[in-house]
Protein backbone atom coordinates (compact mmCIF):
# COMPACT_ATOMS: atom_id res chain seq x y z
CA UNK A 1 0.00 0.00 0.00
CA UNK A 2 1.43 3.36 -1.03
CA UNK A 3 1.75 6.27 1.36
CA UNK A 4 -1.18 8.16 -0.18
CA UNK A 5 -3.47 5.16 -0.10
CA UNK A 6 -2.33 4.40 3.43
CA UNK A 7 -3.30 7.90 4.57
CA UNK A 8 -6.70 7.71 2.86
CA UNK A 9 -7.39 4.36 4.47
CA UNK A 10 -6.40 5.69 7.88
CA UNK A 11 -8.85 8.58 7.50
CA UNK A 12 -11.59 6.16 6.44
CA UNK A 13 -10.94 3.93 9.44
CA UNK A 14 -10.91 6.93 11.78
CA UNK A 15 -14.25 8.12 10.43
CA UNK A 16 -15.82 4.67 10.66
CA UNK A 17 -14.83 4.16 14.28
CA UNK A 18 -15.66 7.66 15.40
CA UNK A 19 -19.04 7.58 13.67
CA UNK A 20 -20.00 4.30 15.31
CA UNK A 21 -19.06 5.43 18.80
CA UNK A 22 -21.09 8.61 18.39
CA UNK A 23 -23.99 7.60 16.15
CA UNK A 24 -24.73 4.44 18.09
CA UNK A 25 -24.62 6.59 21.24
CA UNK A 26 -21.90 4.45 22.74
CA UNK A 27 -19.95 7.61 23.66
CA UNK A 28 -21.90 10.69 24.73
CA UNK A 29 -21.10 14.09 26.14
CA UNK A 30 -19.66 14.26 29.66
CA UNK A 31 -19.34 18.04 29.95
CA UNK A 32 -21.40 18.11 33.15
CA UNK A 33 -18.78 16.19 35.12
CA UNK A 34 -16.73 18.06 37.69
CA UNK A 35 -13.79 19.86 36.05
CA UNK A 36 -14.69 18.13 32.80
CA UNK A 37 -12.11 19.92 30.65
CA UNK A 38 -9.27 17.91 32.22
CA UNK A 39 -10.89 14.50 31.66
CA UNK A 40 -9.39 12.30 28.97
CA UNK A 41 -8.90 8.55 28.64
CA UNK A 42 -7.07 6.61 25.94
CA UNK A 43 -7.71 2.95 25.20
CA UNK A 44 -5.66 0.89 22.74
CA UNK A 45 -7.72 -1.50 20.64
CA UNK A 46 -7.35 -3.92 17.76
CA UNK A 47 -10.17 -5.40 15.72
CA UNK A 48 -10.64 -8.86 14.33
CA UNK A 49 -12.55 -9.51 11.14
CA UNK A 50 -15.64 -10.78 12.99
CA UNK A 51 -16.52 -7.21 14.01
CA UNK A 52 -15.31 -7.61 17.59
CA UNK A 53 -12.20 -6.60 19.46
CA UNK A 54 -9.35 -9.03 18.93
CA UNK A 55 -8.28 -8.41 22.53
CA UNK A 56 -9.76 -6.59 25.51
CA UNK A 57 -9.19 -2.82 25.14
CA UNK A 58 -6.20 -1.69 27.16
CA UNK A 59 -6.17 1.56 29.15
CA UNK A 60 -3.05 3.50 28.10
CA UNK A 61 -3.56 7.07 29.38
CA UNK A 62 -3.72 7.31 32.29
CA UNK A 63 -1.76 4.11 32.73
CA UNK A 64 -3.80 3.18 35.80
CA UNK A 65 -7.20 4.18 37.14
CA UNK A 66 -6.47 6.84 39.78
CA UNK A 67 -7.76 5.75 43.18
CA UNK A 68 -8.25 9.23 44.62
CA UNK A 69 -9.94 10.79 41.62
CA UNK A 70 -13.57 9.58 41.43
CA UNK A 71 -14.51 11.75 38.41
CA UNK A 72 -11.57 10.34 36.42
CA UNK A 73 -12.40 6.81 37.59
CA UNK A 74 -15.98 7.22 36.42
CA UNK A 75 -14.88 8.81 33.15
CA UNK A 76 -12.58 5.86 32.43
CA UNK A 77 -15.34 3.45 33.38
CA UNK A 78 -17.75 5.20 31.01
CA UNK A 79 -15.20 5.06 28.18
CA UNK A 80 -14.73 1.36 28.82
CA UNK A 81 -18.51 0.86 28.83
CA UNK A 82 -18.76 2.77 25.54
CA UNK A 83 -16.28 0.32 23.98
CA UNK A 84 -18.15 -2.67 25.41
CA UNK A 85 -21.47 -1.31 24.18
CA UNK A 86 -20.25 -0.75 20.62
CA UNK A 87 -18.44 -4.09 20.69
CA UNK A 88 -21.69 -5.83 21.64
CA UNK A 89 -23.39 -4.10 18.74
CA UNK A 90 -20.55 -5.15 16.44
CA UNK A 91 -17.99 -2.94 14.74
CA UNK A 92 -18.30 -2.22 11.09
CA UNK A 93 -14.87 -1.63 9.67
CA UNK A 94 -13.88 -0.95 6.08
CA UNK A 95 -12.09 -3.93 4.48
CA UNK A 96 -9.05 -1.71 4.04
CA UNK A 97 -8.44 -1.82 7.80
CA UNK A 98 -7.29 -5.40 7.52
CA UNK A 99 -4.84 -4.44 4.75
CA UNK A 100 -3.17 -1.77 6.85
CA UNK A 101 0.45 -2.50 7.58
CA UNK A 102 2.22 -3.47 9.64
CA UNK A 103 -0.46 -5.84 10.89
CA UNK A 104 -1.87 -6.19 13.49
CA UNK A 105 -3.00 -2.61 13.38
CA UNK A 106 -3.36 -0.98 16.77
CA UNK A 107 -5.54 2.07 17.30
CA UNK A 108 -5.57 4.47 20.24
CA UNK A 109 -9.06 5.77 20.98
CA UNK A 110 -8.94 9.04 22.90
CA UNK A 111 -12.18 9.83 24.74
CA UNK A 112 -12.90 13.45 25.67
CA UNK A 113 -16.00 15.39 26.72
CA UNK A 114 -17.19 18.12 24.38
CA UNK A 115 -16.09 20.84 26.78
CA UNK A 116 -12.53 19.43 26.73
CA UNK A 117 -12.27 19.07 22.95
CA UNK A 118 -9.49 21.17 21.53
Amino acid sequence: MGAGEMRRTQVTVQDFIRAQLINKRCWTDHSDMADAARLQATFRVRFSNNGKFALEPELREPAREPINDPPMQVFIQHARTALQKCNNLGWQLPPEYFKLEPAPYWIDLVFVPKIGAR
Partner: protein, 480 residues
Protein backbone atom coordinates in the same frame (compact mmCIF):
# COMPACT_ATOMS: atom_id res chain seq x y z
CA UNK B 1 13.23 -26.10 28.59
CA UNK B 2 15.08 -29.38 29.07
CA UNK B 3 17.97 -29.82 31.48
CA UNK B 4 20.34 -30.44 28.56
CA UNK B 5 19.31 -27.19 26.79
CA UNK B 6 19.61 -25.29 30.08
CA UNK B 7 23.11 -26.64 30.52
CA UNK B 8 24.06 -25.58 26.99
CA UNK B 9 22.64 -22.14 27.61
CA UNK B 10 24.60 -21.77 30.84
CA UNK B 11 27.76 -22.92 29.08
CA UNK B 12 27.17 -20.23 26.50
CA UNK B 13 26.92 -17.68 29.34
CA UNK B 14 23.17 -16.99 28.87
CA UNK B 15 20.45 -16.90 31.54
CA UNK B 16 17.95 -19.61 30.52
CA UNK B 17 14.96 -17.86 32.17
CA UNK B 18 15.77 -14.64 30.40
CA UNK B 19 16.03 -16.49 27.12
CA UNK B 20 12.73 -18.18 27.79
CA UNK B 21 11.00 -14.85 28.52
CA UNK B 22 12.43 -13.37 25.34
CA UNK B 23 11.12 -16.35 23.42
CA UNK B 24 7.58 -15.95 24.88
CA UNK B 25 7.58 -12.21 24.17
CA UNK B 26 8.70 -12.82 20.60
CA UNK B 27 5.94 -15.37 20.01
CA UNK B 28 3.32 -13.09 21.61
CA UNK B 29 4.47 -10.17 19.49
CA UNK B 30 4.25 -12.32 16.36
CA UNK B 31 0.70 -13.28 17.35
CA UNK B 32 -0.18 -9.63 18.01
CA UNK B 33 -1.01 -10.09 21.67
CA UNK B 34 1.30 -7.43 23.11
CA UNK B 35 0.54 -3.84 22.42
CA UNK B 36 3.35 -1.88 20.85
CA UNK B 37 4.83 1.22 22.43
CA UNK B 38 2.93 3.40 19.98
CA UNK B 39 -0.28 2.72 18.10
CA UNK B 40 -0.37 3.23 14.36
CA UNK B 41 -3.47 5.37 14.48
CA UNK B 42 -4.96 7.75 17.04
CA UNK B 43 -8.67 8.60 16.97
CA UNK B 44 -10.10 11.32 19.20
CA UNK B 45 -13.73 10.73 20.05
CA UNK B 46 -15.65 13.75 21.32
CA UNK B 47 -18.94 13.14 23.10
CA UNK B 48 -21.21 15.28 20.98
CA UNK B 49 -24.67 14.63 22.31
CA UNK B 50 -25.76 14.36 25.89
CA UNK B 51 -27.63 11.10 26.36
CA UNK B 52 -28.92 10.02 29.75
CA UNK B 53 -27.65 6.68 30.99
CA UNK B 54 -30.28 3.96 30.78
CA UNK B 55 -30.83 2.36 34.15
CA UNK B 56 -33.20 -0.40 35.21
CA UNK B 57 -34.64 -0.35 38.72
CA UNK B 58 -36.99 -3.28 39.34
CA UNK B 59 -38.98 -3.20 42.58
CA UNK B 60 -36.86 -4.31 45.51
CA UNK B 61 -37.57 -7.71 47.01
CA UNK B 62 -39.25 -7.79 50.40
CA UNK B 63 -38.86 -9.97 53.45
CA UNK B 64 -40.91 -9.55 56.64
CA UNK B 65 -44.28 -8.18 57.65
CA UNK B 66 -45.01 -4.87 55.93
CA UNK B 67 -41.83 -5.07 53.86
CA UNK B 68 -43.58 -5.48 50.50
CA UNK B 69 -45.38 -2.14 50.69
CA UNK B 70 -42.23 -0.34 51.84
CA UNK B 71 -40.13 -2.02 49.15
CA UNK B 72 -42.57 -0.81 46.48
CA UNK B 73 -42.63 2.75 47.85
CA UNK B 74 -38.88 2.88 48.33
CA UNK B 75 -38.28 1.63 44.78
CA UNK B 76 -40.67 4.27 43.47
CA UNK B 77 -38.89 7.13 45.28
CA UNK B 78 -35.53 5.78 44.12
CA UNK B 79 -36.72 5.74 40.50
CA UNK B 80 -38.15 9.25 40.80
CA UNK B 81 -34.91 10.58 42.29
CA UNK B 82 -32.77 9.11 39.53
CA UNK B 83 -35.15 10.21 36.77
CA UNK B 84 -35.44 13.75 38.17
CA UNK B 85 -31.69 14.28 37.71
CA UNK B 86 -31.98 13.67 33.94
CA UNK B 87 -28.59 12.00 34.22
CA UNK B 88 -30.51 8.74 33.97
CA UNK B 89 -33.27 7.41 31.78
CA UNK B 90 -35.34 4.71 33.43
CA UNK B 91 -35.98 1.53 31.50
CA UNK B 92 -39.73 0.93 31.32
CA UNK B 93 -40.65 -1.93 33.61
CA UNK B 94 -42.83 -3.41 30.86
CA UNK B 95 -39.67 -3.98 28.80
CA UNK B 96 -37.98 -6.14 31.43
CA UNK B 97 -37.28 -9.69 30.24
CA UNK B 98 -35.74 -11.14 33.38
CA UNK B 99 -38.53 -10.93 35.95
CA UNK B 100 -37.33 -13.53 38.42
CA UNK B 101 -34.35 -11.54 39.66
CA UNK B 102 -32.94 -12.57 42.97
CA UNK B 103 -30.84 -10.38 45.22
CA UNK B 104 -28.49 -13.30 45.83
CA UNK B 105 -27.98 -14.26 42.18
CA UNK B 106 -26.21 -12.43 39.39
CA UNK B 107 -28.63 -11.17 36.74
CA UNK B 108 -28.80 -12.66 33.24
CA UNK B 109 -26.86 -9.86 31.61
CA UNK B 110 -27.94 -10.56 28.01
CA UNK B 111 -31.57 -10.01 29.08
CA UNK B 112 -30.64 -6.46 30.11
CA UNK B 113 -28.49 -5.76 27.05
CA UNK B 114 -30.96 -6.58 24.29
CA UNK B 115 -32.50 -3.84 22.20
CA UNK B 116 -35.60 -2.47 23.85
CA UNK B 117 -34.06 -2.86 27.29
CA UNK B 118 -30.51 -1.65 26.61
CA UNK B 119 -29.79 -0.92 30.26
CA UNK B 120 -26.29 0.23 31.07
CA UNK B 121 -26.86 -0.19 34.79
CA UNK B 122 -29.17 -2.40 36.82
CA UNK B 123 -30.10 -2.07 40.49
CA UNK B 124 -31.33 -5.05 42.45
CA UNK B 125 -32.38 -4.55 46.04
CA UNK B 126 -33.97 -6.10 49.06
CA UNK B 127 -35.94 -4.72 52.03
CA UNK B 128 -35.93 -6.80 55.22
CA UNK B 129 -37.96 -6.00 58.32
CA UNK B 130 -36.77 -7.87 61.37
CA UNK B 131 -39.84 -9.09 63.32
CA UNK B 132 -37.86 -9.24 66.59
CA UNK B 133 -36.94 -5.56 66.84
CA UNK B 134 -38.66 -3.91 63.83
CA UNK B 135 -35.27 -2.88 62.42
CA UNK B 136 -35.26 -2.37 58.68
CA UNK B 137 -32.36 -3.33 56.43
CA UNK B 138 -32.10 -2.15 52.84
CA UNK B 139 -29.58 -3.93 50.64
CA UNK B 140 -28.80 -3.18 47.03
CA UNK B 141 -26.41 -4.15 44.26
CA UNK B 142 -25.46 -2.02 41.27
CA UNK B 143 -24.55 -4.02 38.16
CA UNK B 144 -22.62 -2.78 35.14
CA UNK B 145 -24.61 -4.51 32.43
CA UNK B 146 -22.11 -4.12 29.60
CA UNK B 147 -19.16 -5.01 31.78
CA UNK B 148 -21.18 -7.91 33.23
CA UNK B 149 -19.90 -7.13 36.71
CA UNK B 150 -21.25 -6.05 40.06
CA UNK B 151 -19.99 -2.51 40.41
CA UNK B 152 -21.12 -1.71 43.94
CA UNK B 153 -23.13 -3.10 46.84
CA UNK B 154 -24.18 -1.67 50.17
CA UNK B 155 -26.70 -2.18 52.93
CA UNK B 156 -28.21 0.14 55.52
CA UNK B 157 -29.96 -0.78 58.74
CA UNK B 158 -32.24 1.66 60.56
CA UNK B 159 -34.15 1.37 63.80
CA UNK B 160 -37.56 1.80 62.25
CA UNK B 161 -39.16 1.33 58.83
CA UNK B 162 -40.52 4.89 59.11
CA UNK B 163 -37.19 6.07 57.69
CA UNK B 164 -37.72 4.31 54.36
CA UNK B 165 -37.96 7.55 52.35
CA UNK B 166 -34.58 8.80 53.54
CA UNK B 167 -33.06 5.44 52.77
CA UNK B 168 -34.44 5.65 49.24
CA UNK B 169 -32.70 9.02 48.84
CA UNK B 170 -29.51 7.63 50.34
CA UNK B 171 -29.48 4.69 47.92
CA UNK B 172 -30.10 7.13 45.04
CA UNK B 173 -27.13 9.20 46.22
CA UNK B 174 -24.89 6.12 46.34
CA UNK B 175 -25.88 5.16 42.81
CA UNK B 176 -25.45 8.71 41.56
CA UNK B 177 -21.95 8.81 43.05
CA UNK B 178 -20.95 5.49 41.56
CA UNK B 179 -22.15 6.37 38.08
CA UNK B 180 -21.18 10.04 37.85
CA UNK B 181 -18.17 10.46 40.14
CA UNK B 182 -19.96 13.30 41.93
CA UNK B 183 -21.62 13.27 45.33
CA UNK B 184 -25.38 13.00 45.18
CA UNK B 185 -27.96 15.51 46.36
CA UNK B 186 -31.13 13.51 46.90
CA UNK B 187 -30.86 13.12 50.68
CA UNK B 188 -31.01 16.85 51.34
CA UNK B 189 -33.57 19.47 52.26
CA UNK B 190 -34.46 22.94 51.12
CA UNK B 191 -35.65 25.94 53.11
CA UNK B 192 -37.69 28.62 51.38
CA UNK B 193 -40.10 31.45 52.09
CA UNK B 194 -43.68 30.28 51.68
CA UNK B 195 -46.12 32.88 50.36
CA UNK B 196 -49.87 32.84 50.37
CA UNK B 197 -51.24 34.01 47.01
CA UNK B 198 -52.91 37.41 47.24
CA UNK B 199 -51.27 38.33 50.52
CA UNK B 200 -48.97 41.31 51.13
CA UNK B 201 -45.73 40.42 49.29
CA UNK B 202 -43.71 41.36 52.37
CA UNK B 203 -45.37 38.57 54.29
CA UNK B 204 -43.83 35.14 54.09
CA UNK B 205 -43.12 32.24 56.40
CA UNK B 206 -40.11 30.01 56.60
CA UNK B 207 -40.78 26.50 55.35
CA UNK B 208 -38.72 23.38 54.79
CA UNK B 209 -39.11 20.35 52.55
CA UNK B 210 -37.12 17.44 51.18
CA UNK B 211 -35.44 18.29 47.88
CA UNK B 212 -38.16 16.35 46.05
CA UNK B 213 -40.95 18.38 47.70
CA UNK B 214 -41.97 15.76 50.24
CA UNK B 215 -42.48 16.49 53.95
CA UNK B 216 -43.08 20.23 53.50
CA UNK B 217 -43.78 22.05 56.75
CA UNK B 218 -43.56 25.52 58.26
CA UNK B 219 -40.80 26.57 60.62
CA UNK B 220 -41.11 29.26 63.31
CA UNK B 221 -44.82 29.89 63.78
CA UNK B 222 -44.36 33.42 65.15
CA UNK B 223 -42.52 34.98 62.22
CA UNK B 224 -44.55 36.12 59.26
CA UNK B 225 -42.26 38.52 57.38
CA UNK B 226 -39.14 36.54 56.63
CA UNK B 227 -36.53 37.09 53.90
CA UNK B 228 -33.33 35.55 52.55
CA UNK B 229 -32.91 32.29 54.47
CA UNK B 230 -29.47 30.72 54.01
CA UNK B 231 -28.67 27.13 54.89
CA UNK B 232 -25.41 26.26 56.60
CA UNK B 233 -23.26 24.11 54.29
CA UNK B 234 -22.29 21.87 57.20
CA UNK B 235 -25.35 21.33 59.40
CA UNK B 236 -29.02 22.11 59.91
CA UNK B 237 -28.70 25.76 60.93
CA UNK B 238 -30.04 28.63 58.90
CA UNK B 239 -29.61 32.37 58.80
CA UNK B 240 -32.55 34.50 57.87
CA UNK B 241 -33.80 38.06 58.04
CA UNK B 242 -37.13 39.02 59.60
CA UNK B 243 -39.03 42.27 59.85
CA UNK B 244 -40.02 42.75 63.47
CA UNK B 245 -41.64 45.68 65.35
CA UNK B 246 -39.09 48.38 66.13
CA UNK B 247 -39.13 48.98 69.90
CA UNK B 248 -37.92 52.56 69.43
CA UNK B 249 -40.53 53.63 66.92
CA UNK B 250 -44.03 52.22 67.48
CA UNK B 251 -45.61 51.14 64.21
CA UNK B 252 -42.26 50.86 62.41
CA UNK B 253 -40.42 47.62 61.62
CA UNK B 254 -36.82 46.63 61.95
CA UNK B 255 -34.87 44.05 59.88
CA UNK B 256 -33.06 41.58 62.11
CA UNK B 257 -30.76 38.72 61.15
CA UNK B 258 -31.35 35.50 63.06
CA UNK B 259 -29.42 32.27 63.47
CA UNK B 260 -31.76 29.31 63.87
CA UNK B 261 -30.99 25.65 64.52
CA UNK B 262 -33.69 23.55 62.88
CA UNK B 263 -32.87 20.45 64.93
CA UNK B 264 -32.84 22.04 68.37
CA UNK B 265 -35.23 24.93 67.71
CA UNK B 266 -32.73 27.31 69.29
CA UNK B 267 -32.63 30.75 67.79
CA UNK B 268 -30.75 33.97 68.48
CA UNK B 269 -30.47 37.45 67.08
CA UNK B 270 -27.24 37.45 65.22
CA UNK B 271 -26.39 41.00 64.47
CA UNK B 272 -28.01 44.30 65.24
CA UNK B 273 -26.13 47.56 65.45
CA UNK B 274 -27.59 50.69 67.07
CA UNK B 275 -27.37 52.69 63.87
CA UNK B 276 -26.89 50.00 61.27
CA UNK B 277 -28.79 47.31 59.47
CA UNK B 278 -27.31 43.89 58.64
CA UNK B 279 -28.62 41.84 55.72
CA UNK B 280 -27.64 39.29 53.06
CA UNK B 281 -25.87 37.06 55.58
CA UNK B 282 -24.31 33.84 54.34
CA UNK B 283 -22.27 31.11 56.08
CA UNK B 284 -18.62 30.35 55.45
CA UNK B 285 -17.98 26.81 54.16
CA UNK B 286 -17.06 25.54 57.64
CA UNK B 287 -20.17 27.14 59.18
CA UNK B 288 -18.08 29.02 61.76
CA UNK B 289 -18.32 32.50 60.26
CA UNK B 290 -20.74 34.53 58.24
CA UNK B 291 -20.28 37.27 55.69
CA UNK B 292 -22.96 39.94 55.50
CA UNK B 293 -23.76 43.43 54.31
CA UNK B 294 -23.91 46.17 56.91
CA UNK B 295 -25.62 49.43 56.02
CA UNK B 296 -24.51 52.47 57.99
CA UNK B 297 -25.70 55.92 57.01
CA UNK B 298 -26.93 54.76 53.64
CA UNK B 299 -23.72 52.95 52.65
CA UNK B 300 -23.30 49.19 52.65
CA UNK B 301 -20.05 47.29 53.06
CA UNK B 302 -19.08 43.65 53.54
CA UNK B 303 -18.23 42.33 56.99
CA UNK B 304 -17.24 38.90 58.29
CA UNK B 305 -18.40 37.81 61.75
CA UNK B 306 -16.87 34.85 63.53
CA UNK B 307 -19.82 33.14 65.21
CA UNK B 308 -18.28 31.70 68.39
CA UNK B 309 -16.77 34.96 69.64
CA UNK B 310 -18.72 37.43 67.50
CA UNK B 311 -15.54 39.13 66.38
CA UNK B 312 -16.09 41.30 63.34
CA UNK B 313 -13.92 42.32 60.40
CA UNK B 314 -14.76 44.91 57.80
CA UNK B 315 -13.71 43.75 54.33
CA UNK B 316 -14.78 46.56 52.02
CA UNK B 317 -14.71 50.29 52.56
CA UNK B 318 -16.19 51.97 49.53
CA UNK B 319 -18.80 54.63 48.94
CA UNK B 320 -20.66 52.21 46.65
CA UNK B 321 -23.17 49.63 47.83
CA UNK B 322 -21.35 46.32 48.44
CA UNK B 323 -23.68 43.45 49.17
CA UNK B 324 -24.59 39.74 48.75
CA UNK B 325 -21.27 38.14 49.77
CA UNK B 326 -20.74 34.42 49.13
CA UNK B 327 -17.68 32.36 50.09
CA UNK B 328 -15.71 30.05 47.81
CA UNK B 329 -15.78 26.44 49.08
CA UNK B 330 -12.22 26.69 50.39
CA UNK B 331 -13.23 29.80 52.36
CA UNK B 332 -10.40 31.88 50.91
CA UNK B 333 -12.39 34.03 48.47
CA UNK B 334 -15.66 35.95 48.48
CA UNK B 335 -17.80 37.03 45.54
CA UNK B 336 -20.07 40.01 46.06
CA UNK B 337 -22.12 42.61 44.23
CA UNK B 338 -21.04 46.22 44.02
CA UNK B 339 -22.31 49.20 42.05
CA UNK B 340 -18.94 50.96 42.23
CA UNK B 341 -18.58 50.48 38.47
CA UNK B 342 -21.91 51.95 37.27
CA UNK B 343 -24.59 49.41 38.00
CA UNK B 344 -24.39 46.23 40.06
CA UNK B 345 -21.64 43.89 38.85
CA UNK B 346 -19.84 40.92 40.37
CA UNK B 347 -16.53 41.32 42.17
CA UNK B 348 -14.24 38.90 43.97
CA UNK B 349 -11.88 39.49 46.87
CA UNK B 350 -9.78 37.55 49.31
CA UNK B 351 -11.41 36.64 52.60
CA UNK B 352 -8.54 38.32 54.47
CA UNK B 353 -8.95 41.52 52.44
CA UNK B 354 -5.38 41.36 51.08
CA UNK B 355 -4.38 42.43 47.59
CA UNK B 356 -4.61 39.86 44.81
CA UNK B 357 -3.86 39.44 41.13
CA UNK B 358 -7.01 40.30 39.21
CA UNK B 359 -8.09 38.02 36.34
CA UNK B 360 -8.14 40.98 33.95
CA UNK B 361 -4.74 42.20 35.11
CA UNK B 362 -3.38 44.44 37.84
CA UNK B 363 -3.44 43.98 41.59
CA UNK B 364 -6.18 45.16 43.91
CA UNK B 365 -8.12 44.16 47.00
CA UNK B 366 -11.25 43.67 44.87
CA UNK B 367 -11.45 42.50 41.25
CA UNK B 368 -14.39 42.96 38.93
CA UNK B 369 -15.32 39.78 37.01
CA UNK B 370 -18.42 40.85 35.04
CA UNK B 371 -18.35 43.54 32.36
CA UNK B 372 -21.82 43.36 30.98
CA UNK B 373 -24.71 45.72 30.37
CA UNK B 374 -26.93 43.68 32.71
CA UNK B 375 -27.45 44.15 36.43
CA UNK B 376 -26.08 41.28 38.47
CA UNK B 377 -27.42 40.14 41.84
CA UNK B 378 -27.46 37.09 44.14
CA UNK B 379 -24.02 35.60 43.35
CA UNK B 380 -23.47 32.14 44.87
CA UNK B 381 -20.17 30.31 44.67
CA UNK B 382 -20.60 26.68 43.65
CA UNK B 383 -19.74 24.01 46.24
CA UNK B 384 -17.46 22.53 43.55
CA UNK B 385 -15.66 25.87 43.34
CA UNK B 386 -15.62 26.10 39.56
CA UNK B 387 -18.64 28.34 38.88
CA UNK B 388 -20.53 31.27 40.36
CA UNK B 389 -24.29 31.34 39.84
CA UNK B 390 -26.05 34.70 39.62
CA UNK B 391 -29.26 36.50 38.68
CA UNK B 392 -28.98 38.93 35.78
CA UNK B 393 -31.46 41.60 34.79
CA UNK B 394 -31.11 42.86 31.27
CA UNK B 395 -32.83 43.05 27.89
CA UNK B 396 -36.19 43.11 29.66
CA UNK B 397 -35.64 39.74 31.33
CA UNK B 398 -34.41 38.27 34.57
CA UNK B 399 -32.13 35.28 34.03
CA UNK B 400 -30.16 32.73 36.00
CA UNK B 401 -26.61 32.21 34.76
CA UNK B 402 -23.20 30.94 35.70
CA UNK B 403 -19.73 32.36 35.20
CA UNK B 404 -16.28 30.96 35.92
CA UNK B 405 -14.57 32.43 38.93
CA UNK B 406 -12.12 34.34 36.73
CA UNK B 407 -14.99 35.98 34.84
CA UNK B 408 -14.76 33.76 31.76
CA UNK B 409 -17.34 31.42 30.24
CA UNK B 410 -20.53 33.25 31.25
CA UNK B 411 -23.61 31.20 30.34
CA UNK B 412 -27.25 32.16 30.74
CA UNK B 413 -29.17 29.07 31.82
CA UNK B 414 -32.72 30.40 32.06
CA UNK B 415 -34.70 33.34 30.75
CA UNK B 416 -37.92 34.38 32.35
CA UNK B 417 -40.14 37.25 33.34
CA UNK B 418 -38.41 37.13 36.70
CA UNK B 419 -35.86 34.41 37.56
CA UNK B 420 -33.81 35.11 40.68
CA UNK B 421 -32.36 33.81 43.98
CA UNK B 422 -30.22 30.89 42.76
CA UNK B 423 -28.99 28.25 45.20
CA UNK B 424 -26.70 25.30 44.46
CA UNK B 425 -27.42 21.69 45.24
CA UNK B 426 -24.82 20.31 47.68
CA UNK B 427 -22.91 18.63 44.83
CA UNK B 428 -22.81 21.75 42.62
CA UNK B 429 -24.63 20.18 39.65
CA UNK B 430 -28.11 21.67 40.03
CA UNK B 431 -29.35 25.21 40.69
CA UNK B 432 -32.72 25.88 42.30
CA UNK B 433 -34.20 29.35 41.88
CA UNK B 434 -37.36 31.40 42.16
CA UNK B 435 -39.42 32.13 39.05
CA UNK B 436 -42.32 34.51 38.58
CA UNK B 437 -43.70 33.51 35.21
CA UNK B 438 -45.57 36.72 34.39
CA UNK B 439 -46.84 39.95 35.89
CA UNK B 440 -49.27 39.08 38.68
CA UNK B 441 -48.32 35.41 38.76
CA UNK B 442 -47.18 33.90 42.03
CA UNK B 443 -43.51 32.96 42.49
CA UNK B 444 -42.62 29.26 42.29
CA UNK B 445 -39.46 27.25 42.77
CA UNK B 446 -37.69 25.75 39.76
CA UNK B 447 -34.44 23.94 39.15
CA UNK B 448 -32.05 23.64 36.24
CA UNK B 449 -28.79 21.78 35.92
CA UNK B 450 -25.41 23.37 35.43
CA UNK B 451 -25.51 22.90 31.67
CA UNK B 452 -28.96 24.50 31.29
CA UNK B 453 -30.73 21.16 30.81
CA UNK B 454 -33.53 19.68 32.86
CA UNK B 455 -35.53 22.80 33.73
CA UNK B 456 -38.16 21.56 36.20
CA UNK B 457 -40.73 22.97 38.57
CA UNK B 458 -40.12 22.02 42.20
CA UNK B 459 -43.35 21.22 44.00
CA UNK B 460 -44.29 23.48 46.92
CA UNK B 461 -47.64 23.64 48.72
CA UNK B 462 -48.02 27.41 48.12
CA UNK B 463 -46.13 30.13 46.30
CA UNK B 464 -42.47 30.17 47.24
CA UNK B 465 -39.40 32.43 47.08
CA UNK B 466 -35.80 32.51 48.27
CA UNK B 467 -34.85 28.82 48.13
CA UNK B 468 -31.74 27.74 49.99
CA UNK B 469 -30.45 24.21 49.54
CA UNK B 470 -29.07 22.44 52.58
CA UNK B 471 -26.18 19.98 52.80
CA UNK B 472 -26.53 16.23 52.49
CA UNK B 473 -28.11 14.91 55.64
CA UNK B 474 -25.96 12.85 57.93
CA UNK B 475 -26.29 9.10 57.69
CA UNK B 476 -28.04 7.84 60.79
CA UNK B 477 -28.20 4.29 59.53
CA UNK B 478 -25.63 1.60 60.13
CA UNK B 479 -23.97 1.06 56.78
CA UNK B 480 -21.97 -1.89 55.53
Amino acid sequence: MTARKTLIALKNGKDPMRQFKSFVIAIAAIMGMITPAAAQLRVTVVGEEYVPMRIAVPDFEADGAGAAEIAAQLSDVLRKDLASSAVFELVDKAAFIERDLSFDMAPRYPDWQVAGVAAQALIVGNVIINPANNNMTVQFRLYNVFGQTQQFARQYTVATPLNWRRLAHRVADDIFTQLTGDAGYFDSRMVFVSKTPGEDPVRGRLAIMDQDGANAEFLLAGFTSVINPRFSPTDQRILYGAYVPDPKYPGATLLRTYLYDIETGRQEVLAEGPNSMDYSARFSPDGRSIALSRAVGGNSDIYVIELARRTQRRLTNDAAIDTSPSFSPDGKMIVFVSDRGLGPQLYIMREDGAQMNCPKGGRDTTCRITFDSGRFTDPVWSPRGDWIAFSRQGDGKFSIGVIRTDGSGMRILTDGYQDESPTWSPNGRVIAFERTASRGAGPKLWSVDLTGRNLRRMPTPRDATNPTWGPLLKVEAAQQ
